[in-house]
Symmetry: C2
Subunit: 320 residues, 2 copies
């Protein structure tokens, strides 16, 4: 995937090319070669699904690269919005090049990603272009909802699911469905792949929330407990707050107070666990992964691709 | 155009819908109805060109609305980038809703605009989608160049033209050419329309630069002489700095000093005029407008549409 991404972004206006290349991990801050690329999860999903519907890699390479560009266009803006200073262990693009140019670089990746699918003349061009534009719109919608919706114990879990379905699942669904659109598979296959992507996104995001609290920061690449620190109601916290136990009551009080020391965070993490929030989250993530695999099994992909995708789904959720 | 824009943006996620509606002038800060819309120049160009190639308004309405959304996606981000607090006499969207949500709202307008053209099933769909994505990419490229290129008396004017061709002309060209793509007109018509849009953008931008220095702020809607204040090398300044006269030498010294009082700005404006910068700019803007009209004349549009477009070109350049 990387060669197509490199080639396409290097043709951008020089400053935008440099920022995109940095953000994508191809170069360092001085523009020298680097290898800090992301996991390219979405393009890997797309290429395996392509194999599963009988397409050749070259039939889908442009779309897979475009999908990574779209995904990264949302990440580069997201880092500005959240004030995140690190991305994959390096300074975020806006810290290196300033927010103004990082905004334009994100816009440029978005426009380029859509241009690549629009310009590719293969079968299903219109349907694929439409799926990409729609998925991008959903990601933006989910990001906006995340910034504005006040998640609480009452309305929390339904809203949480909706945000994740937009912010995380939409591109995963699009990655899985694009090869099927190109191959012209029947509607029930498309539906199965969409459901697989939806559940995969939920499984991933919920497990990600668990890792934020109890994971190893050297594996997640993020400071531990940033969700609790920011009072971001992640899934285990929502589940804990919804429980009707003395521990969840104590958690609620601490949550609404403004303690941010490591001891405070540890105490809240312990209360989330004591209220059953961790257990519920781990169980739900597992259930969503099971559902994702069940839908994948209904998508009539080749045996080899199904096996590969099954392993990839697991790696995506468990970040291994 | 507005009904389509309203309908499309109102279907966005509620917060994004509210910000887009505010930015587009449909509502005020509280969400109450307002009428502070822009001039919708690009959609007007597209609708007249559509008439000129024999299309009906309904054949092009979706594209015209999409074009305005793309244009506005660049404006909402541009205001953040430039720190501009006013847009059409009202607080810029980022001042009202914060930069984070304004970034997402710009992204959402961009994605929506492209989605609308991608989803429209009429003739020339692929070519039109491609033209839109390409034009948007050029605008972003021009914006990035403007932030990073140091315009000076030597390399200035060629670089200036390039920036304007990308930042301003690209969407005007796209607006004029889209109906021709839908109607399937021959290549020489497309070429004539592209050239008309290119020169129109240059004529507009150069005259705009003149107005920034000597225009009436109640007409331009912007604080007078902001280009000089920010040491933004606008066309009259570039032309003046390139002249080899005592006045241009004095201008150069003041330009590189940091005087920003009204008296400083007045003195620099006078030196730009004395060095011939205003005269050159006005002449060049007129020449570009003449060229734009000449190319328009070669586009074989209907007589009525040509007449209307001629008048619109003039209004666009002279903001009347």
């Amino acid at each position: 995937m990387s060669p197509v991404m490199r080639q396409q972004t290097s043709a951008l206006e020089p400053t935008l090319a440099r920022i995109c290349s940095y953000h994508l991990g191809f170069t360092d801050e001085r523009g020298d070669p680097s290898s800090a690329e992301g996991k390219l999860t979405r393009s890997a999903l797309m290429m395996m699904a392509a194999d599963g519907v009988g397409l050749r890699p070259e039939d889908m390479r442009c779309q897979a690269a475009a999908m990574e560009l779209l995904h990264n266009s949302t990440l580069i803006h997201d880092d500005i919005i959240d004030g995140d200073e690190l991305r994959r262990g390096r300074p975020a693009a806006w810290k290196v090049f300033g927010a103004s140019l990082a905004i334009l670089a994100g816009d440029a990746m978005q426009a380029l990603g859509l241009q690549m699918v629009v310009d590719d003349p293969g079968p299903g061009r219109a349907e694929i272009s439409s799926a990409f534009a729609k998925a991008l719109g959903l990601v933006l919608s989910g990001q906006a909802r995340e910034l504005t919706v006040r998640l609480g114990p009452d309305t929390g879990i339904a809203e949480y699911d909706r945000i994740v379905e937009e912010k995380t699942s939409a591109l995963l669904e699009c990655a899985l469905v694009t090869p099927a659109l190109r191959a012209g598979t029947p509607e029930h296959v498309l539906a199965a792949l969409r459901s697989a992507g939806r559940h995969l996104g939920l499984a991933f995001q919920i497990f990600n929330d668990v890792e934020d609290i109890w994971g190893d920061p050297t594996v997640t690449g993020k400071p531990v407990r940033s969700d609790i620190l920011r009072r971001n109601p992640s899934f285990p916290v929502l589940a804990a707050l919804s429980a009707d136990t003395p521990a969840s009551e104590r958690l609620r009080r601490l949550w609404h107070a403004d303690g941010t020391t490591a001891a405070h965070l540890q105490q809240m993490a312990d209360l989330v666990e004591e209220s059953g929030g961790r257990h519920t989250a781990e169980r739900l993530s597992r259930n969503h992964l099971d559902s994702a695999l069940e839908h994948l099994g209904q998508a009539e992909l080749s045996r080899a691709a199904s096996t590969e995708l099954t392993a990839l789904f697991d790696r995506i959720v468990h970040r291994s």
